[in-house]
């Protein structure tokens, strides 16, 4: 799953998927602006067939946050 997330982030944020790790966060990535944040959320929703609440969307601010939120979502 983490590889799929990395690839989605690479596609949406124009990053090299190999450069993405636990430390990759919205604050440090220039292309991860508010527009692309929504794009990223929509892309993850499509890929995993889930729908996030707004509170979840607002908390998905790094690679590890995304993994955590998605993990929880997929377990429910």
């Amino acid at each position: 799953m983490d590889q799929r997330i990395k690839e989605i982030m690479a596609d949406v944020l124009n990053l090299d998927s190999k450069s993405i790790d636990e430390t990759t966060a919205k604050d440090h990535i220039e292309s991860w602006d508010s527009l692309n944040h929504i794009n990223l959320v929509m892309a993850i929703e499509q890929e995993f067939q889930v729908s996030f609440d707004v509170s979840e969307i607002e908390s998905m601010l790094s690679f590890s946050d995304i993994m955590e939120v998605l993990d929880r979502k997929l377990q429910n």
Partner: protein, 635 residues
């Protein structure tokens, strides 16, 4: 078409490889594989970025500058629009107005919109944003107030379009309004004399009327789209409220695909001909094996599905799309079906060309393109056999291939869903085109009979009318600039609004050309536009439909221009040829009529001049000419 076995990772790799080589068709092919199916925001983001950063494709794309004006965050649709544009051979550059700023953008003459100078303006406003009183607040108003709201909105739309029209020649696409998902008064709404849905409908009628009255303004049937895909899944209420992005991510490609129908039509990329296979396409089964009476075609499934598909093809024929056949069969067997099978809706006479033999289908398609005198990129090939489809895709990548699904009940949708044949006008010429091609065939047959060319011209008994562009012919004139590829010296596309602008300027001279011969009336088949500049008369547009090429109509058009130049006391007639992949038939035009070449650029664009004191172009004496003196700009 796309190869079904391809995985998305393969498609992505193929795209990157094709992009590196600047191989347009392979890149388009790979990109199509990647966006196949619904949604795919990640792929659309990836592709649009790659597409926007690539230039110098080996087969160049058609540039198109669009402006998106919206009441919501339409930027989320941009990756889909850019990517779908690429799939259609368009290089789309996007200007986005400030969010919710659509009025200011249009009304302020110095706004970014006008600085940008778009070819197309899309006005995408949600009804809920524009007239809340007709939506969430419906019950707060009485009928009179609602009536006022609707007329005010109509006036506002009308004022906006007028302002836009005065300042820009761009085509304008205006979304109409979708009815609310849940009706304020519940189940009784449909029965009320002035229910909520009824009011939205009236507003849409008013909008359509405003668009009809505005040159080059067209309704995007957004209400129809929302209905077709389903309002429940079209909208994402969460994203509407959180990110002002009301359209669900999965639906953005549908919106982009709808825009493409308009963009293709505006850029002269609408398809003109559909070539169908026979076995398991027009009927069920294989004629060579099942025989005349064994093929499935009739009132019961699956025969009725094939009848339904034939009806759609017949409708395309009536809209002016040419039908042709490319089939591996015995011609005599097929003749028998046409002659004897009473369930065939399509008759032999509906097809402009039949290629029935055992050679490769790519060969058949080339022959059809040549015989009908149309470009391969204007042809759609329809076949149930994936192997044939792949053969064509590889041999003729510029052709659009529709590989039919396994179930015949899905054929019609596969043929029509992308609106490949749609155009922005339905002129009387379109409705008669099938017939017109038949007239042309008769004329060609006559050419084979006649001895000298002059004899042939005389035998045609041609009558030519050169007339000023007027309201009734404006649509056709614009359409000709958009659709004519072969006999077209500059291939500059014009909208109705752009032509109207020139009509009002005295230095411009515009005329349409209609031809009548002993086989019938061809209608308006030519258009010319020239501008007086100093002592010269400079030809800007000069084009003829391929139906009448090779009959010296062009000579009459040049003679007309010489005469007009004389009336204006101009000394020189200037022309230029911008070479395209298509316009070989027109390249010799100026040379053949005694013009001197004055310059040629590296890209092959050539400039020509005729000194009117020394030489002129004479009227061909084998045709009757009707040219009124009023042929000129409004002076």
């Amino acid at each position: 078409m796309t190869f079904r076995t391809q995985t998305q990772a393969d498609a992505k790799e193929a795209f990157v490889a094709a992009k590196k080589e600047r191989n347009t068709y392979q890149a388009i092919h790979a990109a199509r594989g990647l966006v196949q199916g619904e949604g795919g925001i990640r792929h659309l983001n990836f592709l649009s970025r790659e597409i926007e950063s690539t230039t110098n494709w080996r087969v160049p794309l058609h540039p198109l500058k669009i402006a998106l004006l919206s009441s919501f965050s339409i930027e989320f649709a941009q990756p889909a629009i850019v990517t779908y544009g690429f799939l259609n051979g368009l290089d789309i550059k996007v200007y986005r107005g400030g969010f919710g700023q659509f009025r200011q953008e249009i009304l302020d003459p110095s706004s970014g919109l006008y600085v940008y100078g778009p070819d197309v303006v899309v006005l995408a406003v949600e009804g809920m944003d524009w007239i809340p009183g007709l939506y969430r607040q419906f019950l707060e108003h009485d009928e009179k107030e609602i009536q006022t709201l609707v007329s005010q909105t109509r006036e506002e739309i009308s004022d906006l379009l007028k302002a836009l029209r005065n300042r820009s020649g761009a085509a304008v696409l205006v979304h109409n309004f979708a009815p609310p998902n849940s009706l304020a008064s519940g189940i009784i709404d449909g029965q009320r004399q002035a229910g909520q849905r009824q009011w939205v409908h009236r507003l849409n009628e008013a909008l359509a009327e405003v668009c009809r009255q505005t040159d080059s303004a067209y309704v995007v049937d957004y209400a129809g789209m929302v209905g077709r895909f389903g309002a429940e899944i079209w909208y994402d209420e969460r994203m509407r409220l959180y990110a002002r992005a009301p359209i669900a991510a999965d639906q953005l490609p549908h919106l982009a695909a709808e825009y493409m129908k308009y963009f293709r039509a505006l850029r002269g990329l609408s398809k003109k001909c559909v070539v169908v296979d026979l076995d398991n396409t027009l009927w069920g089964g294989v004629l060579g094996e099942d025989g005349l009476h064994g093929i499935r075609l009739g009132n019961e499934y699956p025969g009725n599905a094939f009848v339904a598909f034939q009806q759609e093809l017949l409708n395309l024929h009536r809209r002016g799309v040419l039908l042709a056949v490319a089939s591996k069969n015995n011609p005599a067997d097929v003749d028998e079906v046409f002659a004897q099978n009473k369930n065939m809706l399509l008759e032999r006479k509906h097809f402009a060309c039949l290629q029935i033999h055992w050679n490769a289908k790519s060969e058949s398609l080339r022959a059809i393109a040549q015989e009908l005198n149309i470009g391969l990129e204007h042809i759609v090939f329809v076949d149930d056999n994936p192997v044939e489809c792949e053969e064509i895709s590889r041999a003729l990548p510029m052709l659009t291939v529709i590989c039919l699904p396994d179930q015949p009940e899905r054929y019609s949708r596969a043929l029509l869903q992308d609106g490949l044949f749609d155009s922005l006008t339905l002129s009387s010429e379109d409705l008669r085109r099938g017939e017109l091609y038949k007239q042309r065939d008769q004329a060609e047959a006559l050419r084979a009979d006649s001895g000298s060319l002059e004899q042939f011209y005389r035998s045609l008994e041609m009558e030519i009318t050169i007339a000023p562009v007027e309201k009734a012919s404006l649509v056709r004139a614009a359409q000709l600039t958009q659709k004519t590829n072969q006999f077209n010296v500059t291939t500059i596309r014009y909208t109705e609004a752009e032509i109207t602008m020139r009509m009002s300027r005295p230095e411009w001279h515009l005329a349409t050309v209609s031809v009548r011969d002993r086989f019938g009336e061809s209608g308006i088949v030519g258009f010319l536009m020239a501008q007086a500049s100093g002592k010269s008369f400079v030809i800007d547009s000069f084009l003829l439909s391929c139906r009448v090429i090779g009959r010296t109509v062009e000579t009459a058009m040049l003679a007309h221009l010489c005469e007009e130049a004389g009336k204006r006391n101009l000394m020189e007639l200037h022309g230029r040829i911008i070479p395209t992949a298509k316009n070989a038939p027109v390249r010799q035009l100026f040379q053949q009529h005694g013009f001197d070449k004055t310059a040629e650029t590296e890209s092959g664009e050539s400039f020509w001049k005729l000194l009117l004191k020394e030489r002129s172009v004479a009227w061909p004496d084998w045709m009757k000419i009707y040219a009124s003196d009023s042929v000129s700009g409004k002076e």
